[in-house]
């Protein structure tokens, strides 16, 4: 509706030229209006090279640089056409005496096509194919959809779904930070755990000091009386007991809190990932293997909470323990402390080197793992094909090959890890020996305040306390690297923008009438072959249209766009006069009932499957819908009736039975707009006729779009639309189309009736 206003303005739109181009033009344009422009990125030898072309009413300006400009008067141009190559296209202009080519990769295809469209309108020549005149407001919408806001901070474009928040700037924080953010709602608990951890660390450090006092003040205590020594022994023993009890209590509490936070964070993370998966468009799923998505929702999130909770808190504790141990050692005897810490650089170096190496390998390991599970997923989904073509051996071989590859990688990881492990722990234990030797020497030859047996005991305790957390830190490094690669994959999902999304000020209406309008709609799935080209059609409320055409003509694509499974690449689709992109997505789909070309049933009962679109429907309603879809009788015929489990993908049902259940599902949904994509293709003619009769009642008052190859299916349609290679080529009633010369519909119709007659004759 917003767009309608622009129509009245009409006239030219002046597209925003890039600043850089303005500079290069250097006033060349004066105040000529700009009709269109495009950037090109290839030269005549298909090498990367930038240039522009700007179209004004009288000339085309080719800009290579500020100095290098060519002007082509429109009057000289005889023809302009786009020639499509593989991965690159050419815009070819023919003038009286020369041929001018603009070459571009996929990046500038849309711009170039638009420029071509504008240019062809200026050319008188008949040989240049003319598209229908596209209203200028339409181009404006398209450009708006493509043009994006620019982020002030990073200078990158902000996609529309992000509502002006630059996703890059919010993402560029380090992955581990983002991870900790997941634990944010539990920060009081986390803080409590950290505090307890600190106290616990303190308690763990105390026994060393107590031990020293027991040895020096009670057991050895040469300068004291026996009774005083016994007193000291009892005193320090009591302290020791207190410390032990206290540290166990606090340690237990700490673990309890951490475990609670951990499970909650894991739950939230799984929820977040799963929820986000559902917001993603079909394009996302078309590319990915189900197996790898499942792993991300389950395994990867699991590994993450492990990290968030235990590793992160333990890192704090370990660092603290190291600090305590170091300061205590230096406090009691700095010479010994230096000796005790001397192996540290070696250990740190080895650990650091190992961590770096592991990080790379872990990422790879996952790729190998998911490639292996992909084979399983693929083969299990297609198990019928595997069996039918006796492919079991090949499938097993395929699996073994990847299983082997994974194992080899994993062994590589383990080798790196475990070869170095003994080195590190060996060094640690040797440094203990160093303390005994050097310390023993000091106690024997230089006994004094500092060099006592107790101090020696204290050192053995704290050297242990020092190296143990270092080992743990190294271990955490392993966890961190593992977690980081898991996090990367989880965030990969979370950061994938939903291509189809609800705008911030989306429209919710009470009800729809069901008027559908395509305006200059163009669409392509991959950006290469167009699936729909310049489709213009109006479907009135309550009308039933039949859609036919050859396989691959774009029929399913047509309805995919109405449901907004994808967004149009060009033009717009309106329902009741409003662009579908302006509606709330959920709301929009509630108004539409679809029977898809490949009916999908969930693992569950038949009743559950029929109810999918309207979980609150009563049993009566479910049965009525099933009756209308001619499914009631066979369902009741099953031993378990409506409670029959249909198995994954509805495998236990016949193709036609599946179709009828999905028709019932669409009927029960009670939509204003009904879409039937080959809904009855697996049914015999008799059953189809029965369903049609039931449907005629249902269809009245609803806008219905039915797709069928069997043309008899479309008898009830008020109007037929014939698609060919993505274009609407014929339109009208059966009577109008059936005798049309060279008509696609007429041909299809003749072939089918001919076949029917031949069968009848036999």
């Amino acid at each position: 509706m917003i767009y309608q206003k622009d129509v009245s303005r009409g006239g030219q739109i002046v597209p925003d030229l890039p600043r850089e181009l303005h500079a290069q033009l250097n006033g060349e344009l004066a105040d000529e209006p700009v009709l269109g422009w495009s950037e090109f990125d290839l030269d005549s030898r298909n090498r990367f090279s930038r240039s522009f072309a700007i179209l004004t009413p009288t000339r085309l300006i080719e800009v290579h640089s500020e100095k290098h400009k060519t002007i082509i008067p429109i009057a000289d141009i005889r023809s302009a056409k786009v020639s499509e190559g593989l991965g690159m296209d050419r815009l070819i202009l023919q003038t009286q005496d020369r041929r001018i080519e603009f070459r571009y990769s996929r990046r500038f295809r849309r711009d170039a096509v638009r420029l071509h469209r504008h240019l062809s309108r200026l050319l008188p020549d008949e040989s240049t194919p003319k598209d229908e005149v596209r209203p200028s407001w339409l181009e404006k919408i398209e450009r708006q959809a493509e043009q994006q806001q620019i982020c002030d901070k990073c200078g990158h474009a902000i996609p529309g779904y992000a509502d002006s928040v630059c996703p890059r700037c919010s993402q560029s924080r380090k992955i581990l930070w983002r991870l900790l953010e997941v634990a944010r709602p539990y920060r009081t608990l986390v803080i409590a755990a950290v505090v307890l951890t600190l106290i616990h660390a303190g308690f763990t450090a105390l026994p060393g000091v107590v031990q020293k006092h027991i040895v020096d003040d009670a057991i050895v205590g040469t300068s004291l009386s026996v009774s005083q020594r016994v007193q000291n022994l009892v005193f320090w023993a009591l302290i020791f007991a207190l410390v032990v009890v206290g540290s166990e209590v606090i340690g237990g509490g700490r673990m309890a809190i951490l475990a609670k936070v951990g499970t909650c964070v894991a739950r939230d993370l799984r929820h977040k990932v799963y929820q986000h998966l559902h917001s993603l468009s079909l394009r996302f799923f078309a590319k990915r293997r189900t197996g790898s998505l499942i792993t991300r929702v389950t395994n990867d999130t699991d590994r993450l909470w492990d990290f968030i909770v235990f590793s992160s808190v333990n890192v704090v504790r370990d660092v603290l323990m190291i600090m305590v141990a170091v300061s205590v050692m230096f406090y009691y005897n700095w010479q010994l402390a230096f000796i005790a810490l001397s192996p540290l650089p070696v250990i740190a170096g080895v650990t650091w080197w190992r961590g770096r190496k592991m990080h790379k390998i872990f990422g790879r390991l996952w790729t190998y793992w998911s490639r292996m599970s992909a084979v399983v997923g693929d083969a299990m989904s297609g198990v019928r094909v595997v069996k039918a073509f006796a492919g079991e051996k090949r499938e097993i071989a395929r699996f073994d090959e990847r299983n082997e590859a994974y194992t080899i990688k994993e062994q590589e990881v383990n080798r790196t890890w475990f070869v170095l492990q003994p080195v590190v722990s060996g060094i640690m234990r040797l440094s203990m020996l160093l303390i005994w030797v050097v310390g023993g020497y000091l106690v024997i030859y230089h006994p004094n305040e500092r060099n006592t047996v107790g101090t020696l005991m204290l050192f053995t305790f704290y050297v242990g306390m020092f190296f143990q957390p270092i080992g743990e830190l190294a271990n955490s490094a392993r966890m961190v690297t593992r977690a980081a690669s898991s996090a990367q994959r989880v965030f990969e999902v979370l950061d994938t923008p939903p291509e189809v999304y609800t705008r911030s000020n989306a429209i919710h209406k009470q009800s729809v009438e069901g008027k559908i309008e395509f305006r200059n709609v163009g669409f392509s799935y991959e950006g290469s072959q167009p699936a729909l080209v310049d489709v213009n059609i109006q479907i009135e409320p309550g009308e039933m249209v039949g859609l036919c055409g050859h396989s691959g003509a774009g029929k399913s694509t047509f309805v995919n766009l109405i449901c907004r499974f994808y967004d149009v690449t060009e033009g717009q689709i309106l329902i009741d006069g409003v662009d579908v992109r302006d509606y709330d997505l959920q709301w929009l789909r509630q108004q539409i009932g679809v029977v898809l070309q490949e009916p999908y049933l969930f693992h569950g009962t038949i009743a559950e499957n029929i109810r999918y679109g309207r979980p609150d429907a009563t049993d009566e309603e479910v049965m009525n819908a099933a009756r209308a879809a001619n499914a009631h009788d066979f369902i009741v015929g099953f031993q378990d009736g409506y409670d029959t489990m249909v198995g994954e993908r509805g495998q236990s049902l016949s193709g036609g039975e599946r179709q009828r259940i999905s028709i019932a599902r669409a009927i029960l949904h009670n939509p204003k707009i009904l879409i039937l994509d080959e809904a009855t293709s697996s049914l015999d003619s008799e059953t189809e006729r029965q369903i049609q009769q039931a449907m005629t009642r249902l269809v009245s008052g609803r806008t219905t779009i039915a797709i069928a190859h069997r043309l008899s299916t479309l008898q009830a349609a008020h109007r037929l639309i014939v698609l060919d290679k993505g274009r609407i080529v014929e339109e009208g009633t059966h009577e109008m189309l059936k005798d049309k010369e060279n008509g696609i519909y007429a041909k299809l119709f003749k072939t089918q009736t001919e076949m029917a007659r031949q069968i009848a004759l036999k």
């Binding site: 090498r47 190559g85 593989l86 991965g87 996703p167 993402q171 590319k287 990915r288 991959e526």
Partner: protein, 151 residues
């Protein structure tokens, strides 16, 4: 089967049965696995007229015509060197040097990088352009270091 290069740059096919087809186009049937074999010759509408079994079976002059056409009408840059792969923003930004010059492109997701059975890679960028990358063993150490984290 003969090909004639017309002044306007298009190619006309003279079939063995004496039929001529104007403005034919060529498509490789196995662009990755067998780029020099099975080249389909199609008319404007995409209907196959004939098939070249192997480029090497053609005569020198014909082969040049076909090879030039293929080279002029297809664009799959071959990556020579990878300078940097930036993954900070949730997608990959590749800075590379190709046989067609230097370029920076964006790879939306890891599934857009395809491992080919022979060890090479095909990489699709956000605009739908395809780049070819040689086997890892054929890359220089710096490039290897740059791509390793994303493969």
């Amino acid at each position: 089967m003969r090909f004639i290069l017309e002044p306007d740059g298009t190619i006309t096919l003279l079939g063995t049965d004496g039929q001529t087809t104007r403005d034919v186009r060529f498509r490789r049937a196995f662009p990755w696995s067998k780029p020099r074999q099975y080249i389909s010759v199609r008319d404007e509408k995409g209907k196959e007229q004939t098939m070249i079994r192997s480029l090497d079976e053609l005569e020198e002059s014909e082969r040049t015509i076909v090879e030039t056409w293929l080279d002029q009408n297809s664009f799959i840059p071959l990556i020579r060197r990878v300078e940097k792969v930036n993954t900070d923003f949730g997608y990959q930004e590749w800075q590379v040097e190709t046989d067609r010059g230097k370029v920076t492109f964006r790879v939306q997701e890891r599934e857009d990088i395809r491992f080919l059975p022979d060890g090479r890679f095909s990489i699709k960028d956000a605009d739908g352009n395809i780049y070819a990358m040689p086997r890892l063993s054929d890359l220089d150490p710096m490039s290897l270091k740059a791509v390793e984290p994303v493969l």
